[in-house]
Amino acid sequence: MRKLLSMAAAAVLSFGVVGAEAADKLKVGFIYVGPIGDYGWSYQHNQGRLAIEAAFGDKVETVYIESVSEGPDAERAIERLARDGAGLIYSTSFGFMNPTLKVAKKFPDVKFEHSTGYKRAANVSTYSARFYEGRYVIGQIAARMSKTGTAGYIGSFPIPEVIRGINAFMLGAQSVDPDFKVKIVWANSWYDPGKEADAAKALLDQGVDVLAQHTDSPAPLQVAEERGAIGFGQASDMIKFAPKGQLTAIVDDWSVYYVNRTKAVLDGTWESTDTWGGLDAEMVLMAPFTNMPEDVANAAKETVEKIRSGKLHPFTGPIYKQDGELAVADGILLDDQAMLGMNWYVKGIDDQLPQ
């Protein structure tokens, strides 16, 4: 009976919806955690979607659902894309991990790409970018540019991804100025322009003159611009929001990865994989180095080049934890597993991790 009902429903549906796709067209679906107009995380993923459209033209059709809350709504949104005939679905936030896996189990023929998670299945790949490489670079710039020797850092949530970023920033800064200080404020949100701006103002009031952020809106940078301070863009090049204030930005570039993975589905060569690419894979790009003396820009370019060629690894020992305990022995590279689960600060950070 149930089958009959759903068949009838399917018939109604296909009758009701105009313009059913030709069978050979691949439908690619995207789930965004924020609005595509955030100029940060979701914006960049949407740029990746547009890159797919540009690369494959008529061979693909893309659809997306934006501002999907991480929680009970996520599974429904992902399932809708699968039901709607998507053959490849990108779920672009960590909180979509378990919902993605649940839907993937129900739709074994649909390919799923989940960003920043760690659980995979035969039809679920994971991917992320080594943003910490960029954070090491901006840490160095901050230490060279700051007059007060103190940077402000706006964090979203104290998860390994963000803590790794703070540590990389600090290690970069310490490589220039061993006494460099960083003040951290948690916004407890990925995207909340009001809160982010308040955090930026509070930090500047406390004598910070360089701002870094791990939240997605350009608001902190706009505050820096207004106050004559400097800062770094997050996720996308935010230079238009702070033409005098932005030094550079860590740009998430998903285009190459998205185009490659979509091509793999079209060619029938798609396999479940785990990708963690950085500056070398061009998944992380640095926006042009602006508003800084030439020597600082050159030093930054040199660091980028060293990381890209593998000569420099931001998490190379000796690295000490806050309490002085040796975390990474001299000359050793911290492995990916340890980086994925990072929940400790490096020495020199005064902040206490909210636990």
Partner: protein, 360 residues
């Protein structure tokens, strides 16, 4: 000539029936105009919004999944608002119920018996009641404004949950990501069909029936109404205002707690930093949209759930932005509330010079 609102001597029964229909009609017309301006075929857009989610078994089930917690919370809130008790913190009671109910599957994951689920549900209800009891106590003992205390406790509960899933209740195999372990099968409310609809939906149905009976047929229901509309008369009748505050908070807190643990157990299967897309706040809208009547709330819950599902459908099949959806939802709510004015008032067309000679 101008329009004038004139208070009716008593509620218009015709309008009570007609106003939601009128609101729906106005929403459809305005929606059609908006969609046409956006370059969409209005008929197709409205179809996508209101009909498409009703055409497949899976999305019908999703509709129930979305509506159930809203209804469950809103019927409890209705008792609060009818009795003039202002519980704004159902979101917190929902969250705390979810936390209390998750104690077992997270702390004692090996405890997998037929008793696990009933115990979890009871603890969820108790958790919600406990969280609701705090503003009730503060109001009774110190006269603290329950609107503020219940609202503030929402943030306390949310931050407590946040702390738990980042700290002590973090999944030991989860790479330090802020999520609890997944519940075992014994701790999961089973699906009722092939989709995501789970046993929690039945709780909402039972709550609607039970609250209808209590409010219409029992002395308690009479007490709720009297204390809400005429507190002094209620006191002469020997009803205690304080006991009513406590009753309303415990009832609504318990139901919100039940909704919380049902959602976590049946739908998410673990605790995460975010377990609710604002159910506790949306339920306030549902309660008033349903005119604080359990049956009305039942309908309102589904209507609101439909607008969310329709919004997603519109994003996928029409490429409409999620902002359009929000505007559309806003129009629906606005018209429903605006048309309700007609129950208490009638619109009269008056001439500038009224026959009585009075100029207004």
């Amino acid at each position: 000539m101008r329009l004038e609102l004139e208070k009716r001597a008593e509620h218009s029964r015709t309008m009570a029936v007609l106003s939601p229909l009128l609101a729906l009609l106005l929403t459809l017309v305005s929606g059609a105009i908006m969609f046409a301006l956006l370059g969409q075929d209005p008929v197709r857009a409205l179809y996508t919004f209101f009909i498409e989610p009703l055409t497949a078994s899976w999305s019908l089930q999703e509709l129930v999944v979305k509506a159930a917690p809203l209804i469950l919370i809103a019927v409890g809130l209705a008792v609060c608002y009818l009795s003039n008790t202002w519980n704004i913190g159902a979101e917190g009671q929902f969250t705390f119920g979810a936390i209390a109910g998750s104690l077992l599957p997270i702390m004692v994951p090996g405890f997998e018996t037929p008793l696990t689920l009933p115990l979890m549900l009871l603890m969820g209800i108790a958790g919600g009641m406990l969280w609701g009891a705090i503003p009730a106590f503060l109001k009774i003992r110190f006269g603290a404004n329950e609107i503020l205390t219940s609202l503030m406790l929402v943030y306390v509960a949310q931050l407590f949950l946040d702390w738990l899933v980042r700290g002590p209740w973090r999944d030991p195999e989860g790479f330090n990501f802020p999520e609890s372990r997944l519940f075992s099968d014994a701790a999961i409310l089973q699906p009722l069909a092939d989709g995501r609809m789970h046993v929690g939906a039945l709780f909402a149905l039972l709550a609607v029936i039970a609250m209808s009976v209590i409010l219409m047929k029992t002395l308690k229901g009479f007490e709720v109404r009297v204390l809400g509309q005429a507190p002094r008369a209620g006191q002469f009748a020997g009803f205690s205002r304080n006991k009513m505050v406590l009753f309303a908070f415990l009832l609504s807190g318990g139901l919100a707690g039940l909704a919380g643990i049902s959602e976590v157990s049946g739908s998410i299967n673990q605790l995460t930093p975010v377990i609710s897309p604002g159910y506790g706040f949306t339920a306030i809208i549902v309660a008033f949209l349903g005119r604080l009547n359990p049956i009305g709330i039942f309908i309102a819950g589904f209507l609101l759930a439909l607008s969310y599902l329709g919004g997603e459908a519109a994003q996928v099949s029409l490429g409409l932005s999620d902002k359009t959806t929000r505007v559309f939802q806003g129009m629906l709510l606005f018209y429903v509330l605006a048309c309700d004015t007609l129950i208490l008032y009638r619109i009269r067309l008056t001439r500038t010079f009224a026959p009585s000679g009075k100029e207004a």
